[in-house]
Symmetry: C2
Subunit: 316 residues, 2 copies
Amino acid sequence: MSHIGIDLGGTKIYGVVLDDGNVVREAKRKTPVRGGPMGVVDAIADVVSQLGGTDGVTGVGIGAPGAVDALGVVQRAPNLPGWDQPFPLGGAVSECLGGLAVAVDNDVNVGTLAELRLGAAQGSADVLGIFVGTGVGGGVVLDGALRRGPTGVAGELGHMVVRQGARKCGCGGRGHLEAYAGRWGMEKRARRLAADGQDSLLVELGKKNRLTSSSFAKALAADDEVTVELLEEAVAALGTAIASCVALLDLDTVVVGGGLADRLGPGFVERVDSAAREQLFLKDAPLRVVPATLGDQGGAIGAARVALESVDGADR
Amino acid sequence: MSHIGIDLGGTKIYGVVLDDGNVVREAKRKTPVRGGPMGVVDAIADVVSQLGGTDGVTGVGIGAPGAVDALGVVQRAPNLPGWDQPFPLGGAVSECLGGLAVAVDNDVNVGTLAELRLGAAQGSADVLGIFVGTGVGGGVVLDGALRRGPTGVAGELGHMVVRQGARKCGCGGRGHLEAYAGRWGMEKRARRLAADGQDSLLVELGKKNRLTSSSFAKALAADDEVTVELLEEAVAALGTAIASCVALLDLDTVVVGGGLADRLGPGFVERVDSAAREQLFLKDAPLRVVPATLGDQGGAIGAARVALESVDGADR
């Protein structure tokens, strides 16, 4: 039984064919900057066709960067060009594929599901997935099921408060995890420090090119003082948010992935693990904080699993 | 169909007979300070007998101040005298009552359940119950069911971090909600301020008698500067924690009860509502923060509901 999983990102669309838990084919293309939602639908159809079409495929899953409701309508997707109002992505792609079943979920939710079913969180039923990249995304699994919430927007870990009233977040809020642990927040902070006279390799690297996760890894490897400090704050903030989530929800597994965490490697996740443990309310809580294992493919794999689980009603 | 609900507190044991959602009888006595867990079992049996015994009663529910596992074993109960290791409270009370079915859950969980089924949260399926007293307790309802977690300790809202690394909590952690919004934390802070030269009516009142929720209400009514400031911090911290929980879990209803909140009245909860709204990640999230309506009886009513729901397997 094959399922297609599509990871719809702001810059690229990546797809896989998942067969019995294995990726048997993959394809990608750029996300179109023109044409709005229908342009994206056509591009997804193009990726499906690159993957060999839908013969023998039972369903398609899509992980989308935004708030997705239970009917596959993407309510908000600020990172997709021209996507300024709710769009029924699932229905539109299904129509384009001759009526094949299409399931849509939030990209972080599907990434968490992938780690739960086929990655680092296998065997756990109560999991927090954390994805550290430009921002910080989260997926919550409780009693084996993804928590979506009545409006479908659960899991906004990056906008939990770790320091009330403190550093400003990209969303306008204050003291959010993302302001300390997201790349965008750290870059902004580095520029502010540079403006105040404390220069850094990070800002230097950002002058030539857009800062990437590799820029952070490079500056860290060079022991750049500001970078070291920013990453210390990021680790502590992640530990704080994890400890809060464990106190509230009694979770036993935290999976840390995303571009920046993947690039910084297991050592980074070990530091987050220590920071979380130090801040646990119940010191003997059976918590493990582990690196994600599916890397870049996680989103598409998880999207294919969403198709499998929602379309076929397969057991978890 | 009648059920008995027992609210087991550190100072008193309060019981009700719940019949078709109505409290038809009530009884109470002091929690014995000697005799450890078996002394408590006897005292519960005494309250049951004051309530008229178990004739016609289908089951007994107990809300206990501590971590309770799925089998009715109270794992930890620091507020009960002589309760220094896990004790199978459900089994022991059942034996004492001739084998009648007995269900045990955490006191805050049952208080939340009571508000959900018969109080302020009726009609909602995704609810945070907050009980502000000496400390701050929380109960989480997701998709209509209480979240207990794999080790049964979910809902420790008071030990979520609102200000990383800041004020010390009674548990030894830092920056926890309870350090700002619990009576004990506020009292400690008031004493610290007095030691630093900033006297307050609160500390004055605490010299003569143990500070109660009424002392806080009195000092607030007198516009005592320190009390006003402490309650402002409490309101802001509660708003922060609520906003974090909503971001993570997509909840639409928050019920605020407990001795201090009940005593300060609806105006206090309205302030918490405003503080939470100001800090919401999604400004248009459909959130309502409302006062608990069952007051002191909530715990016992919720315990009876736990009996009804777990013993009879009744629908939620």
